[in-house]
């Protein structure tokens, strides 16, 4: 046993898969430490990833005046060369007469006005990226200089004036919210929701995989070991389930169960009872190769019951195989949930999120079209990582177990 475990953990594929899986599994504990609950509405609709500060807290924080805006006019802020480049832009791309530009250049305010009314980062013009970036930089600098207006907030006695050169040290703002993955269409924190969905989807995958493996294992063992009419009947049903694409059955069952009845557990059950045929088929063929082995014959000669022989003399020999099949079934259970949910047949619940549902929501609210990548890229990544890690573990186990199976 110890030896087998050591062999398994010497297989690089298994170890990589296992580590990825553990990381994903660890992530699923994030909701326990997150300040939000998975479904909590944090914002209004999509917000990009970032750290958000409360405006009020900003104003209430101790402010300091930073005097970076010089009083000495534009010449203090820009070199003559830089000013020349800006004038050149106004003529070349801004469509302003050389004479007008020259005249405006005499007066700081006139020049600023002309620049601000002509230039915008959104103006389309043909020039090198470097040139465009340079212009953007100048523009930013000008915007800073011009933003000297103060803002009056409040009414009556409580009015305060916020000057544009008043700054607050970010550390001193008490009310800060970091949304590493932004918010989704419901305004929920994507990271918390995603990690909780990973947990739910893993549970659903394990449940679906366990159900599929249990059914497949039982049918495969009975069909393979007993043979005869039992085998024929069970193989008939296995083939029936194989010929009708399981996805069609899945959709039909999921459709016939009312919206309210489709809890995560019910959906896992639906996936589980449609995913067993291939496990049954491969277990059956393994058992057939075992049932004529001499240790099975000897067990029969020792008067052991069929049930005992199946459990003690056949099952242990295919256990490693069954574990591998279970891992694959868990992986495909998670994918199955995602597929069903994408079609709108997944668990219908407003209290839990699953990876598939998150994909479905992102799709329904056109996150992809609007460039709200944070609403679906991390979900896709999570699904990919889970199935990739499962496949790696499986091939790793295969490498360890197969030489033994063949001897």
């Amino acid at each position: 046993m110890k030896q087998i475990l050591r062999n398994i953990f010497h297989s690089p594929r298994f170890v990589v898969g296992f580590v990825i899986f553990c990381i994903v599994l660890l992530l699923s504990f994030y909701p326990m430490v997150s300040i939000f609950t998975p479904m909590e509405i944090v914002g209004s609709g999509f917000h990009a990833p970032g750290t958000y500060v409360n405006i009020k807290s900003t104003i209430q924080s101790r402010s300091e005046e930073l005097k970076y805006v010089g009083a000495a006019g534009l010449s203090n802020q820009f070199t003559a060369e830089e000013l020349g480049k800006m004038q050149e832009w106004l003529v070349k791309y801004g469509g302003i007469d050389q004479a007008v530009v020259d005249e405006a250049a005499e007066n700081d305010n006139a020049f600023l006005e002309l620049w601000l009314s002509t230039y915008s980062d959104d103006v389309q013009y043909k020039a090198t990226q470097a040139y465009k970036r340079e212009m953007q930089k100048y523009n930013k600098q000008i915007l800073r200089i011009t933003a000297t207006d103060s803002l009056e907030i409040g009414e009556g006695d409580s009015t305060i004036t916020v000057k544009s050169n008043q700054f607050v040290n970010v550390k001193n703002i008490s009310n800060r919210v970091t949304l590493p993955l932004g918010t989704d269409n419901f305004g929920a924190d994507v990271l918390t929701k995603l990690t909780s969905a990973i947990g739910v989807s893993l549970k659903m995958g394990v449940m679906a995989g366990a159900i599929a493996t249990a059914i497949g294992l039982t049918i495969g063992l009975l069909a393979g070991f007993l043979g005869g009419w039992v085998d024929n009947t069970l193989t008939f049903f296995t083939n029936l389930f194989t010929v009708i694409p399981s996805f069609v059955i899945l959709v039909l069952i999921a459709n016939s169960i009312s919206q309210a009845g489709r809890s995560p557990a019910m959906v896992s059950l639906i996936i589980g009872i449609t995913a067993w045929p291939w496990t049954a088929r491969s277990v059956r063929s393994q058992v057939i190769s075992l049932r004529n082995r001499d240790h099975v014959n000897l067990s029969k000669l020792s008067g052991h019951s069929t049930a005992r022989i199946i459990v003690q003399d056949v099952l242990p020999y295919i256990l490693s195989y069954v574990i591998m099949a279970l891992i694959l079934q868990i992986g495909s259970g998670i994918l199955g949930e995602a597929q069903l949910s994408m079609l709108g047949l997944g668990p219908s619940t407003t209290t839990t999120a699953t990876l598939g549902l998150m994909m479905n929501w992102a799709n329904t609210f056109s996150a992809a079209q609007n460039g709200q990548w944070w609403a679906f890229v991390p979900v896709v990544l999570a699904i990919t990582l889970i199935s990739y890690s499962m496949n790696l573990m499986n091939t790793g186990l295969d490498q360890v177990f197969n030489p033994q199976l063949r001897d």
Binding site: H295, L301, S305
Partner: protein, 284 residues
């Protein structure tokens, strides 16, 4: 080993296992393969019978049918004079108290996940010793192991893979010693063990016969070995018995061409046989 065995005539005792037209066909239609083809035989109590034939001649198939592990396509088997009935599990269990086997490959005969004690304990349980105190069971297992020159104390709590092939096969004989069946089917029991264990195993089989009066059906492809140890030989070719009779008569005066060919393949067949020549000339 070299002491001359007293050759009692076991070939006229009461019948314990007979077959009439026993046939086994694998597959059907075009691909039908008649592995055992209408064979008749009569094995007597205490008789040492060898079934000799080349690989693929149907020996193992016949032995599986005799053991009740493989259904018979045609014909019938008589056990102790009556038509064998193994239709239910209880009847099968009863039948297997009377007939047991040692298989060709000792490495495949054990459940690799069970300690070897369990093999011997199963035998004690099968003989109704389930409720014996553990000390008594250990005593019985120790006796069985010493019968095959093994020390139970060294084997207990070990897994099969910790034993050599020869030790495993001897433990199989210890199992038979505990079960004391009427009939033992040994399907090439020496072909996969080292030369040293081979002689010991043959000797033990003869001891089982002499001490317990067990009928031994010994399956081999080595006609020289069969001549040395058996009372009766059945020569099997393509699923049929082409010749049978007392070992001396068949091998010293073969009639079937197949028997003659088998004999000509073995050097020194007409010389005096002892086990040392068996060891030297065997070509397992």
């Amino acid at each position: 080993m070299s002491e001359v065995r007293e050759r009692k005539d076991y070939t006229n005792g009461p019948l314990c296992l007979s077959g009439r037209g026993v046939t086994r066909i694998f597959g059907h239609g075009e691909k039908a393969n008649v592995a055992v083809d209408h064979v008749d035989f009569d094995f007597h109590e205490g008789e040492f019978v060898s079934i000799v034939g080349e690989s693929g001649s149907g020996k193992t198939t016949l032995s599986k049918m005799l053991l009740g592990l493989l259904p018979i396509s045609e014909g019938e088997i008589l056990f102790q004079g009556k038509v064998r009935d193994i239709s239910t599990r209880a009847k099968k269990a009863e039948y297997w108290k009377g007939i047991q086997a040692i298989f060709q490959d000792p490495f495949a005969s054990y459940n690799i996940f069970h300690k070897i004690d369990s093999v011997l304990l199963d035998c004690i349980n099968m003989r109704g010793g389930k409720n014996l105190p553990y000390e008594k069971k250990v005593e019985m297992m120790t006796e069985a192991c010493s019968f095959v020159n093994l020390k139970f104390a060294e084997l207990t709590n070990k897994y099969p893979f910790e034993l050599s092939g020869g030790q495993m096969q001897r433990l199989m004989i210890a199992r038979i010693f505990l079960l004391k069946p009427k009939i033992l089917l040994a399907d090439e029991p020496t072909s996969m063990v080292d030369a040293c264990s081979r002689a010991t195993i043959l000797d033990m089989l003869l001891n089982l016969r002499d001490e317990i009066g067990m009928t031994i059906i010994f399956i081999t492809h080595d006609i020289g070995l069969a001549y040395y140890i058996s009372d009766t030989v059945y020569i099997m070719e393509h699923g049929k018995f082409v010749e049978y009779g007392k070992a001396d008569e068949v091998i010293l005066n073969p009639k079937a061409p197949y028997t003659k060919r088998l004999i000509s393949d073995v050097p020194k067949i007409h010389e005096e046989w002892d086990l040392s020549t068996v060891e030297l000339t065997d070509d397992y």
